[in-house]
Amino acid sequence: EPEVTQTPSHQVTQMGQEVILRCVPISNHLYFYWYRQILGQKVEFLVSFYNNEISEKSEIFDDQFSVERPDGSNFTLKIRSTKLEDSAMYFCASSEWGDSKQPQHFGDGTRLSIL
């Protein structure tokens, strides 16, 4: 069964450094998402992306964050200058369409640890 893949599984970075999290969505999916889960808390929406544009973003997704689809298969999340509070599990998801009829499928996540 096709799946969303994320790399790396664990990233350790010094505070203030840039980090790029990578995702390969399911191949025929058109909508892509990033979520994060701080340890012990709810899964929170960050951003959705369609047709090379951000469709929606949350208040968490400030100027330090950016997303990109650099080629036909990868979808990346960049954090420009990491802070301690960015430590979390980051999940990429994709869906065939963006409406309620299509569930989002999630990857296994990247655990980001900021030192």
Binding site: V4, Q6, Y31, Y33, Y35, K42, V43, E44, F45, S48, Y50, S55, E56, S58, M89, F91, A93, G98, S100, K101, P103, Q104, H105, F106, G107, D108, G109, R111
Partner: protein, 111 residues
């Protein structure tokens, strides 16, 4: 803003027992999604409910959405250790692409 509340927060059952997890919304749901998460891993899609009164089953798991589309339940029949994990309900609002998630229910099944 819409919130999803799940109950119970945690559940420990003996293998073979039935159990129910509830998800309640403060507003009408347009799509309700159940996921399972193993500790430190990703979210595995289980089922999607859209219509009031809808019920779906997969293997020993049944999910229902009430007529008012504000409450959903997930029922596991004859639980097994493989059912252990964190069950999350997620929902979206019409016109948006984002899901909000409940706090999760941590299930442990004792062999």
């Amino acid at each position: 803003s819409q919130e999803l509340e799940q109950s119970p927060q945690s559940l420990i059952v003996q293998e073979g027992k039935n159990l129910t997890i509830n998800c309640t919304s403060s507003k009408t749901l347009y799509g309700l999604y159940w996921y399972k998460q193993k500790y430190g891993e990703g979210l595995i899609f289980l089922m999607m409910l859209q219509k009031g009164g809808e019920e779906k089953s997969h293997e020993k798991i049944t999910a229902k959405l009430d007529e008012k589309k504000q409450q959903s339940s997930l029922h596991i029949t004859a639980s097994q250790p493989s059912h252990a994990g964190i069950y999350l309900c997620g929902a979206d609002r019409s016109g948006t692409y984002k899901y909000i998630f409940g706090t999760g229910t941590r299930l442990k099944v004792l062999a």
